[in-house]
């Protein structure tokens, strides 16, 4: 029973983190500085997700593979402007480096 309470309560708090900013409506538009902050927010969050995914603390024995693969994905994305190519390049690089034991 306690397990179900844990699952449902975890679901509720997770849903609240997703829904509260969307459910609350504010009158008028945001003031200038806040709008600039909000403009920069999406890239900041995605870059933070990337940074957290690249820095793997317990990456034994692959320390370094993620950093090189991320650099490869970055280069391919900037060059081809294509999401799919960049993802395939990143995955192939990390798999090859891990196979090589890096």
């Amino acid at each position: 029973m306690s397990l179900w309470i844990t699952i449902v309560a975890s679901g509720v708090v997770t849903y609240l983190t997703r829904a509260l900013p969307l459910a609350i409506t504010t009158p008028g538009s945001a003031p200038g500085p806040l709008r600039r902050y909000l403009d920069a927010l999406p890239i900041a969050i995605i870059a933070a997700l990337a940074g957290a995914g690249i820095a793997v603390p317990d990456a034994q024995p692959t320390a370094g593979a993620e950093v090189l693969a991320a650099a490869m994905a970055l280069v391919v994305a900037a060059w081809r402007r294509n999401l799919l190519f960049a993802v395939v390049a990143g995955v192939v690089t990390v798999a090859a480096l891990r196979l090589a034991g890096l």
């Binding site: 699952i7 940074g51 995955v91």
Partner: protein, 224 residues
């Protein structure tokens, strides 16, 4: 390309990842003592990959329920930022529609939708189609892993676990437009990486994501 087709054509590497990691979750949950129904219910109700792995790990070590829920809240606090960031585009949806879109909001759906919006689109169908498919694949993977997970290979071996990180990197690389975008992105990535390496994984993304936009103000001041 229609939004629906684009969501599938660009999303498939992430859907593959969702199935593979979903299988790993189903298996891990069973090993932690959850039944097939409980493992599937976790994916249906919580629908948040990283938090679910933390949950079953804490359940396995008999952590009290309030502490588990607190850990989930801390880890998912980053959704508050993401939901705030997509408010302008989601504002077009009805109140009920917004509550549905909120349920589908994950790191992956957020990043892919921002990638779509940054190409000048304003429709929500890319978000809806991608988010719904991701939900389906995640739950199918969980059920498969919980029911017959014993023979799954380690996803790390083929680099599948890295696909989502590569997506985040690529969306940033394609999405940056100004010099201040580059500074914000570098700051966010470095702060998040540093926090993760010192053991603050749970709050790395929310702290780095909330602080890095402030860099944009410093950059723009210099131009004056």
């Amino acid at each position: 390309m229609t939004p629906r087709r684009a969501a599938i054509a660009e999303g498939w590497p992430i859907f593959v990842t969702a199935v593979v990691v979903g299988i790993a979750f189903g298996l891990t949950a069973r090993q932690a003592g959850l039944s097939i129904v409980e493992a599937s219910a976790t994916s249906l109700i919580v629908f948040a990959g990283a938090a679910q792995f933390v949950m079953v790990d804490l359940l396995r070590t008999a952590t009290p329920a309030p502490l588990i829920v607190l850990a989930v809240l801390l880890l998912n606090a980053r959704h508050l930022l993401m939901a705030t960031a997509i408010r302008p585009v989601v504002a077009a949806a009805s109140p009920i529609g917004r509550l549905g879109l909120a349920y589908l909001l994950t790191d992956e759906t957020f990043a892919m939708a921002i990638g779509w919006f940054r190409r000048g689109h304003r429709d929500l169908s890319y978000y809806t189609v991608f988010g719904t498919l991701l939900w389906c694949f995640w739950n199918a993977g969980t059920l498969l892993g919980a029911a017959f997970g014993a023979g799954v290979e380690d996803p790390q071996r083929w680099g599948i676990d890295f696909a989502i990180t590569a997506v985040f990197v690529a969306i940033v690389a394609i999405g940056v437009r100004h010099r201040s975008d580059v500074a914000v992105a570098l700051t966010a990535a470095l702060v998040a990486a540093a926090l993760r390496l010192v053991g603050a994984s749970a709050v790395a993304v929310v702290v780095a994501g909330a602080l890095a936009p402030l860099v944009a103000f410093a950059i723009r001041e210099q131009h004056r």
